[in-house]
């Protein structure tokens, strides 16, 4: 473990750490464009030059390609270094267009930031001398390139080759004519294309989804977890609600990956990146619906009262065998725990499951994407939301039984049965089932099939935990309240429990999670407060081996 000094401050880092990473530990930023911890080192931007003294010998090196050595002294803020960086920046800005007022990256642009720190020179270039290159150039279905803004750091090129494993972008021509472009006859259309926008240190690559939507300084940032599949990548939600006149339906403006070494490193897939559109989609359910008594509008309370009385009636007439629940593996640990408490432990309902064989599956690859599109199947397994006892019935059999009229009350969470059933079967289900309660987020066929519908919150609107396929428990934060009469799912079970005479005491999500910690073996010892931002493994489940997807060479010893 080499000990070194950066700007006079001592630090100890693992062998092989470069100077940029070593400085990060001291909250010292060594400016850079081309270096990225997840990609191979190329050392081409020349911004990270620092002065290094070792054994009395001083030299100027690039921080990205220099391994920290024992006894090394690094000078990051000397006059000489400042002059070098200022010189490099001037080269960058020589042909850079004066686009800042209309550039999406303004406010989070490293050219702007470093100019304030290391430049602040007057331009020596006349406007007419500026070189012109491609502007508003479509590199793929989701990303737009402005070549004039590009600093040729090659991060995007390396990302495509090293991480996504495709050859879609390249730097062509040479010298001053160098230009980032598509590889001939190829588009930037891999499943991870959006990451190049995050990697771009300037406004050269912009996301068509976010372009011209918001100035970045208006955005607020909340850490969260992607619920697009069972991996549960760490993300940031960038959201803004105060300027609703701009786009009243859109609260989340974009999702960005959040570094999590053991889950997604620095990346997210495009499927997850654009999944936020569902949160404020036009077909979101914001109010309860009912078919009964010709009511045109109803309240959640009325629906809950009706559901409770239907369940009570069924139980007293035919016992727990007449009630079935098809829960969802997309629900949170807390939702599933209270559901299990109420239906299995208190009401003794055996027909309880989360899995239907007709559920939609997604694409799976070696990088991040999983075929299982639900975020919390592992949690459902751990909490044992599954058939139990002698008469337990699995998901597909529950559905088959419901068609045959085995159940009086059927409760369905999230699953759109109408996509699995034929029109004939749908009619049969409606006739043979006395009462269907649907809990969902979006308008779909179930809203017409079910007798009552309760709108529930999505992950972006609430605090919750999920357990990903590795067995990692991760939590979300709540940036804003759900709209309309939308309820968190666990609240629905709590309210229903109250009406059925089974109190499920909990003031908050934290309370529920702490009770999971007390009740479920694999959650033993976990507390709401104790979940770090990058998640924590279930008790007794070993950490998955750290898998670095990148192909980077080790740093040469200094």
């Amino acid at each position: 473990m080499p000990h070194l000094e950066i700007d006079g401050k001592p630090v100890e880092v693992p062998a092989g750490t470069n100077l940029i990473e070593a400085a990060k530990r001291l909250n010292i930023e060594i400016p850079h464009y081309c270096y990225h911890p997840g990609l191979a080192v190329v050392g081409s931007c020349r911004m990270c030059q620092v002065e290094v003294e070792l054994n009395g010998r001083k030299s100027i090196v690039v921080g990205c390609n220099t391994a920290a050595a024992d006894g090394m002294k690094v000078f990051n803020s000397t006059e000489a270094i400042h002059r070098i960086r200022s010189g490099v920046l001037e080269f960058y800005l020589q042909h850079h267009p004066l686009d800042c007022p209309i550039c999406d990256d303004a406010g989070e642009c490293d050219l702007q930031n470093y100019y304030l720190l290391h430049g602040l020179h007057d331009s020596r270039v006349e406007l007419a001398e500026k070189r012109h290159k491609h502007k508003v150039h479509d590199v793929g279905p989701t990303v737009v390139l402005d070549s004039e803004r590009c600093v040729l750091c090659s991060r995007c090129v390396r990302f495509c080759r090293e991480i996504a494993g495709v050859d879609e972008l390249g730097i062509f021509e040479h010298g001053g004519d160098s230009e980032l472009l598509n590889v001939p006859d190829k588009l930037l259309e891999n499943d991870y294309a959006g990451n190049v926008v995050d990697l771009c240190p300037v406004g050269a690559l912009t996301d068509k989804d976010f372009r011209f939507k918001r100035r970045v300084w208006y955005l607020k940032r909340t850490p969260s977890v992607c619920t697009g599949c069972s991996r549960g990548c760490s993300i940031y939600m960038d959201w803004e609600t105060s300027r609703s006149y701009k786009n009243p339906q859109r609260r989340i403006q974009r999702l960005k990956p959040r570094y999590n070494r053991d889950v997604n490193e620095w990346w997210i897939c495009d499927r997850g990146r654009y999944s936020y559109h569902a949160v404020d989609a036009g077909n979101r359910l914001t109010a309860p619906r009912t078919k009964s008594e010709g009511e045109s509008a109803t309240t959640v309370d009325a629906v809950l009262d009706r559901a409770a009385s239907k369940i009570k009636a069924a139980l007293s007439k035919h016992g727990p065998k007449s009630v079935a629940v098809i829960a969802s593996a997309a629900s949170s640990n807390e939702d599933l725990f209270l559901l299990k408490r109420l239906f299995a432990d208190e009401l003794k309902v055996h027909s309880l499951d989360v899995t239907l064989s007709g559920e939609p599956k997604g694409k799976e690859d070696e990088i991040l994407m999983k075929a299982d599109l639900t975020a919390n199947r592992r949690g459902a397994v751990e909490i044992a939301v599954q058939p139990w006892g002698g008469g337990g019935v699995a998901g597909d059999d529950i559905l088959a039984g419901a068609l045959d009229g085995d159940y009086e009350v059927l409760i369905v969470v999230q699953h759109d049965l109408t996509r699995i059933l034929s029109q004939k079967e749908r009619n049969r289900l409606g006739q043979n089932c006395e009462y269907i309660l649907y809990l969902g987020t979006h308008e779909n066929g179930m809203c017409h099939l079910a007798d009552d519908v309760i709108p529930i919150a999505m992950w972006a609107e609430r605090e919750a935990t999920g357990t990903n396929f590795q067995g990692r428990v991760q939590r979300t934060w709540r940036p804003f309240e759900p709209r309309g009469e939308v309820l968190c799912e666990w609240r629905v079970w709590q309210e229903l429990g109250k009406r059925l005479g089974h109190a499920l005491p909990a003031e908050s999500v934290a309370d529920v999670f702490d009770s999971i910690g007390a009740a479920i073996a694999s959650f033993k010892g976990l507390t709401w407060e104790g979940i770090p931002p990058t998640g924590i493994m279930l008790t007794g489940v070993s950490e998955p081996p750290y898998r670095k997807v990148q192909s980077s060479r080790p740093l040469p010893a200094y």
Partner: protein, 419 residues
């Protein structure tokens, strides 16, 4: 072996007919030194080359024997790359070797490969040399047919294959790591240093010796005459003669083989026949276009070896001596020079990619009489901002001459700048 127009050690067979032909070359002793070297231990060969004081003739002047000694133990396979990407403006010596004595080069490369126990030799010839490429390819084929190249060379049990690759017209592929990248089939972008020496991490990540054509062509001669004798042709720090490419305003431009350390005046006046039309010497570029310019006064007693030229404030480089006489305009020279480097910048790292074009713009503006007073200081400062801040030496190659032109001939620039 020294005649009126030079020392004839390396070039002794250049003028003889049919030297590129193997049968003729064999009659004059080609591959005899390979036979001798194969009887020596590989380390012995390296020791002899080290003792001979042979230094790289590609430009950096690094000790060849020392470079060969950098090959890490127990890492195989190893490669030898022959750098025949001779592109430095003013330099035209390697071409003569390729055209007139290709077997000498192949023999030298084979001896080097034996010394470092390499299994393959890659000859990288610049794309513009299509005629020399044909000659060398034929020479390789002949040598292979006769058993000098390939499996079990001359019954020694040692095998070494020779391959020929050509560039596609990029100066930067003469930079040794750019050359390696190009050979690997990639864009010829020089590699980031460290690792500094391809001898440790080179072609396909394996130990690779990259030597200039001239450097390797000297190797059979070292084996022939011995290290001590070879050393006597040069200075104690740089053994052997040097092929000087003499160009510019001289009566007899050409390539001259002279002992390293020869006075510049000998080269210009005895070999080159003096300045054209008896005009006055104004300046000399002693080591290819990327070296600092030297004024006539600075050249007065200059000796042409690495240390002396460095002490005079320039570098011997590839020993391409460009003679500049009075009527030559230095601002015009600068535009010519910066245009070359702006065109040849690979574009990988920022100072060179952005800076070379900027220098060209300013230099052109001054030459065309549109210059501003501050442009000269700007030029100098921009050159300073490129110098030493880049991945490879191309940054220095443009910064050094620029700075020297401005400081030494400032008045000429100022005369063009109208208030």
């Amino acid at each position: 072996m020294t005649s009126s127009n030079g020392t004839r050690l390396l070039s002794r067979n250049f003028a003889l007919p049919g030297q590129a032909n193997l049968d003729t070359a064999l009659k004059r002793g080609a591959y005899e030194m390979l036979k001798r070297a194969l009887k020596m231990k590989p380390e012995e060969v390296t020791t002899v080359v080290k003792a001979s004081g042979l230094r790289g003739h590609g430009g950096a002047g690094f000790s060849a024997g020392m470079k060969w000694g950098f090959v890490p133990k127990d890492v195989f396979p190893r490669y030898v790359c022959v750098n025949a990407d001779e592109s430095e403006p003013g330099t035209c010596k390697d071409r003569l070797i390729l055209e007139y004595d290709p077997h000498l080069l192949i023999e030298g490369a084979l001896i080097c490969a034996w010394a470092v126990q390499a299994e393959r030799i890659y000859l990288y010839i610049r794309g513009e040399y299509f005629y020399p490429t044909r000659i060398v390819q034929r020479a390789i084929d002949e040598a292979r047919a006769k058993g000098f190249v390939g499996e079990n060379i001359l019954g020694s049990g040692w095998s070494c294959h020779v391959h020929l690759g050509t560039g596609a017209g990029q100066y930067i592929c003469g930079e040794e790591t750019g050359l390696i990248e190009s050979l690997e089939g990639k864009k010829g972008w020089p590699r980031l240093k460290p690792p500094f020496y391809p001898a440790a991490v080179g072609l396909w990540g394996k130990p690779t010796i990259v030597n200039n054509v001239e450097t390797l062509a000297f190797v059979p001669r070292i084996i022939e005459i011995g290290a001590e004798k070879f050393l006597s042709y040069g200075t104690p720090k740089a053994g052997g003669p040097t092929l000087f490419s003499l160009s510019g305003s001289v009566n007899r431009p050409g390539v001259y083989e002279l002992p390293t350390g020869v006075p510049l005046k000998t080269l210009i006046y005895d070999c080159g026949g003096g300045i054209k039309d008896g005009r006055r010497l104004k300046a000399v570029i002693p080591g290819g276009s990327s070296s600092h310019i030297l004024t006539a006064e600075e050249c007065e007693n200059l000796k042409m070896d690495f240390e002396s030229v460095t002490a005079a404030g320039s570098m011997l480089g590839s020993a391409a001596v460009m003679v500049i006489d009075e009527p030559v305009s230095i601002p015009r020279l600068m535009v010519w020079m910066t245009r070359f480097y702006a065109h040849e910048s690979c574009g990988q790292c920022t100072p060179c990619r952005e800076g070379t074009g900027w220098l060209l713009r300013l230099a052109t503006r001054i030459l065309e009489g549109r210059g501003r007073r501050r442009d000269l200081d700007d030029l100098y400062e921009l050159a300073e901002n490129i110098d030493g801040k880049t991945i490879c030496a191309l940054g220095q190659a443009v910064a050094w001459p620029t700075k020297s032109y401005i400081t030494k001939f400032r008045r000429e620039f100022e005369a063009l700048i109208q208030e």
